[in-house]
């Protein structure tokens, strides 16, 4: 009790946090990819605490069977947790020590609104609505080393809150034609547009980001094609075909991975996957959620394959705005909850561990008597990666996750990343 209290005191501002030594900035080539699962995924069905006696009791039709019971049972991670069998393509990464999790993590703000909670997770300032920019944009500004048009890449048609801010972010469209030649690449058109946009104070920088980012990405991918990058990944080419969303994600994710591998400047990337709001008929080892998780697992596997050797210096973080109720609801789904699980994938990850303190599912331990408690602040996980992996100094980190308005604590569990 006392030790924890002391740690909290020491940790409330990570400037005087556990390491006790102020860090100076040091440029790296390391990379961070953030994948946001919008809609609040049920983390208790991703890394299920089968060893907690309250888990099975709370979930009648959607619980996953303890490991060892055949195909439909959990894949054993340790004595407490098992991985959803739909995520079996990711098990080798766990076994190689490249995949780990932080359970009972999330935002300290108690909102159960998707939209506020996503907003807080993207602004990096839970409870504070006035923050105008996103933490990934602040991180881009704070990264040690020179700027470049493709240093940060957003994959998708719209720029998410997490990337909003003053630093320019390149856009990678969805679909197989993401690198195709477009009207904006035509030199005559681009020159004429440039003269119009140059004088526009609000849209000028957006236009510059579009043209410069596209130019650099196309150069990188031309080199990729020339060296036969497509073939090296061993991906099934048929993956580009077919439906949007779930199955499309694998193809898009692989493309993003290849871009990061080929473009030495790219250090930050973001994308999101929706459709996790399973209020009804969530399913167990089979069904709605399992189907979506299977597609997500294939997508993350494709991302890792696209990254190729770059996986060795990339950390992929998967997170979602909050978790879902411990107890199954009246319609075989789950309602909005609190604590969730964060995923960490990549060479630098201290994988093969479920990190973080487990508060348990005993009613007394639940937030508001119904939800998994948030023990690990999502910012403590991200701050740890920003410092130890991306080389941020203490001063830079303070720009990314300001500590003034809230006493959030430094990561105080076992090491999330391998020491270099």
């Amino acid at each position: 009790m006392q030790r924890r209290h002391l740690l909290q005191l020491a940790g409330w501002t990570w400037l005087s946090g556990a390491t006790a030594v102020a860090r100076a900035a040091a440029p790296t080539q390391n990379k961070l990819v953030v994948v946001m699962l919008r809609g609040a995924v049920d983390g208790l069905s991703i890394v299920a605490p089968y060893g907690d006696p309250h888990y099975a009791q709370s979930r009648d039709t959607i619980r996953l069977a303890a490991p060892g019971g055949g195909d439909a049972s959990l894949l054993q991670l340790d004595g407490l947790f098992g991985l959803n069998p739909a995520l079996s393509p990711l098990l080798p990464y766990w076994q190689r020590g490249q995949l780990g999790f932080v359970h009972a993590s999330g935002s300290p703000d108690p909102t159960r609104s998707h939209f506020d909670a996503q907003d807080y997770m993207e602004s990096g300032t839970p409870g504070l609505k006035s923050t105008g920019d996103g933490w990934l944009n602040r991180l881009l500004q704070a990264l040690p080393g020179p700027a470049a048009p493709t240093r940060a890449v957003n994959m998708g048609a719209t720029l998410p809150r997490i990337f909003s801010g003053t630093a320019e972010v390149a856009s990678l469209g969805l679909g197989p034609k993401a690198f195709a030649h477009e009207a904006i690449d035509d030199p005559r058109m681009q020159a004429a547009l440039a003269s119009m946009y140059a004088k526009d104070s609000q849209l000028g920088h957006t236009f510059d980001a579009a043209t410069e980012g596209r130019g650099e990405m196309q150069r990188s991918m031309a080199a990729d094609a020339a060296t036969g990058g497509d073939d090296k990944t061993g991906m099934d080419p048929r993956i580009d075909r077919g439906a949007p969303s779930a199955s499309g994600f694998a193809a898009d994710a692989q493309r993003l991975g290849r871009l990061i591998q080929r473009d030495p400047h790219t250090q930050l990337a973001f994308t999101s996957v929706g459709g996790w709001d399973t209020h009804i008929n969530q399913g167990g080892a089979k069904g709605q959620l399992a189907g979506k998780l299977a597609a997500l697992g294939r997508g993350l596997d494709a991302l890792a394959q696209g990254l190729g050797p770059a996986l060795d210096n990339t950390v992929v973080v998967v997170m979602s705005e909050f978790g879902r109720t411990v107890r199954e609801n009246g319609t075989h789904g789950t309602d909005h909850g609190r604590g969730n699980v964060m995923w960490l994938l990549g060479g630098p990850v201290n994988g093969g561990h479920v990190h973080g303190e487990w508060p348990g599912l005993d009613t007394a331990a639940l937030a508001d008597g119904r939800d998994l408690a948030v023990v690990s602040d999502f910012r403590s996980v991200l701050a740890n990666i920003a410092q130890r992996h991306l080389g941020l100094g203490d001063a830079q980190l303070a720009q990314v996750f300001p500590a003034e308005h809230e006493r959030w604590s430094a990561w105080r569990g076992a090491a999330l990343l391998r020491t270099a």
């Binding site: 919008r38 809609g39 009648d60 039709t61 909102t111 159960r112 609104s113 998707h114 939209f115 506020d116 957003n154 998708g156 048609a157 719209t158 720029l159 809150r161 909003s164 320019e168 972010v169 390149a170 856009s171 990678l172 469209g173 969805l174 679909g175 477009e182 009207a183 904006i184 005559r188 058109m189 004429a192 547009l193 003269s195 119009m196 946009y197 004088k199 526009d200 609000q202 849209l203 000028g204 957006t206 236009f207 980001a209 579009a210 980012g213 596209r214 949007p244 929706g274 459709g275 709001d277 209020h279 009804i280 609801n329 009246g330 319609t331 075989h332 789904g333 309602d335 909005h336 508001d368």
Partner: protein
């Protein structure tokens, strides 16, 4: 010939161009600017025909007529060409039950196909385009027709404000066509719950959305039942519990009803209020049996499924009263000051500025409450908005960034020549437009989450959007690539129509470009990204 169009371009451009360059930032909008501002904010942007009418009538007189027509509730007839296109779409006449029947038939056929495939030989090629696909054949056309109704009206209806408001309110009470039978119901939802109420009472719209099967299904209330509910047989005998049947609450609709539809997220409610409201709304469901056949609503209140206990909600004790509990809740929510502020904020944000002036939000909220018992409540609120100085301020002029929906519509409108028959200016099919909206991240009826789409620059302004819009501008203009005279004629038309919306630098760049590039440059310009 020195065409009529070129003359028009010259006539329109010269006076206001001087005006804009000289205008200081605080100068009130001139008549010409006000006319265009009205077309942009209370409609989906000017068409060449509009600029001709403005020129003929004078901008002051034109604007008076336009505002009167949009806001005074007189019936605005649709042009015959539009009426005919809309009337050709048969699924728009189906009622809720018939639409659901179609969905079920598709499901049934799909099951049979699947069974046939597993029973018989394995299909050699799953990608066989000729293979029957019940969903594509039965369900998809219903969504396409609903989309066509929406887009054609937005392009060509003279009741432009109604079209803007249908989009606004659909989005406010969003349902998602990708979730089960909501697909077949989106058109019905818009026709029955949204459109009739956009100038009417908020309570009426709230009730209509609450009871439409699209909303009941989308936010799961149809299945939410009292805790430990066990369905009974026809003669009251308790049936054995079916593990697949719902046996308790689902909070989804109750939460979004307060967070998104009424009070707003900071409107003053707790998790307990969410759960209690969910209990009050148990039993609000729909009867899927299409046995009624009278075009009636499928909504049913089923007392057996209702939680009969006492509830405590928003500081009041609610005694058991069946459907009356939910009706009371909608009454309370519709008249709540938090709701008034929330709606006032959203309207001011959509029509005036991304960060709306607080004084305007307050006036709209006051008017919302003052008119709460009026059958024209929402028209009154819109009148308050359009009479406000903030709406007509220079700060608001050209200050908003177009959403993809608005960008696509305003592009097609500005490219519709005034001297062409209306029928010929309408796209023959809307699939390419739907594709453009998909690609831009704003599929029509395709917002998965109940908050719908945002209408702020923060949501839509990004490098990928500019890339896609320039591409679309060029695609729309391909037809004149090799015909400089026609291309010039078209760009003159666009120049004349957009008039005061263009900056001097845009006009200079366009004038300096070769004819084939002029229209794409106009539609790809920073000025055309704004409204």
């Amino acid at each position: 010939m020195m065409t009529r169009r070129q003359g028009l371009a010259a006539a329109l451009l010269t006076p206001w161009m001087r005006g804009v360059w000289a205008a200081d930032a605080a100068a009130p909008l001139g008549d010409q600017e006000r006319a265009l501002h009205a077309l942009e904010r209370l409609g989906f942007g000017p068409r060449p025909a509009d600029s001709e009418t403005i020129l003929a009538q004078g901008p002051g007189a034109w604007l008076k007529g336009f505002l009167g027509a949009q806001l005074q509730g007189a019936r605005i007839d649709l042009p015959d060409a539009l009426d005919q296109r809309l009337a050709a779409e048969d699924t728009a006449r189906l009622d809720q039950g018939e639409l659901y029947e179609r969905f079920r038939r598709a499901q049934q056929l799909e099951r049979e196909l699947k069974k046939a495939q597993t029973d018989g030989d394995k299909a050699d090629d799953k990608d066989d385009k000729a293979a029957p696909n019940p969903r594509r054949e039965l369900v998809r056309p219903v969504v396409i027709q609903a989309s066509e109704q929406r887009l054609l009206r937005a392009l060509a209806s003279p009741a432009q404000l109604e079209e803007v408001l249908v989009d606004f309110w659909f989005n406010h009470f969003n349902v998602y066509a990708g979730k089960g039978p909501v697909s077949v119901w989106v058109g019905s939802y818009e026709r029955e719950a949204i459109r009739p109420n956009v100038f009417g009472s908020f309570r009426a719209m709230l009730g209509a959305t609450a009871k439409h099967p699209a909303m009941l299904f989308y936010l799961d209330n149809a299945q939410s039942v009292a805790a430990n509910f066990h369905p009974r047989g026809r003669f009251g005998a308790s049936r054995p519990a079916n593990p697949k049947q719902a046996n308790g609450l689902n909070e989804n609709y109750a939460r979004e009803l307060m967070e998104l539809h009424t009070l707003g997220v900071d409107g003053g409610y707790t998790q307990r209020d969410v759960t209690e409201l969910a209990r009050m709304l148990t039993g609000w469901t729909f009867d899927p049996k299409p046995s009624w056949g009278d075009g009636a609503s499928l909504f049913r209140f089923v007392d057996q499924r209702h939680d009969q206990g006492r509830k405590h909600w928003l500081g009041r004790t609610v005694e058991p009263n069946g459907q009356g509990e939910g009706e009371m809740a909608l009454d309370v929510l519709a008249a709540h000051p938090s709701t008034a502020r929330h709606i006032g904020f959203q309207l001011a944000q959509a029509f005036v500025a991304d960060e709306p002036p607080p004084a305007l939000v307050q006036r709209l909220a006051d008017r919302f409450i003052a008119a709460k018992d009026s059958r024209t409540q929402l028209r009154d609120v819109m009148q308050e908005l359009v009479q406000s100085d903030e709406f007509w301020s220079r700060e608001a002029f050209r200050a908003k960034f177009k959403s993809p929906y608005r960008y696509v519509l305003s592009s097609l409108r500005v490219l519709a020549p005034a001297d062409m028959a209306l029928a010929d200016t309408l796209p023959r099919e809307v699939q390419p437009l739907l594709g453009a909206l998909n690609q831009a991240g704003m599929p029509l009826y395709g917002s998965v989450t109940p908050d719908g789409y945002k209408n702020t620059a923060a949501a839509w302004q990004n490098p990928e959007a500019l890339t896609q819009r320039v591409q679309l501008a060029q695609t729309l203009n391909k037809r004149f690539d090799k015909r400089p005279a026609l291309a010039t004629r078209e760009s003159d038309m666009v120049l004349a129509t957009l008039g005061p919306l263009l900056s001097a630098s845009t006009i200079a760049s366009v004038r300096g470009a070769t004819p084939d590039l002029r229209t794409p440059l106009l539609l790809g310009s920073p000025d055309f990204m704004r409204f």
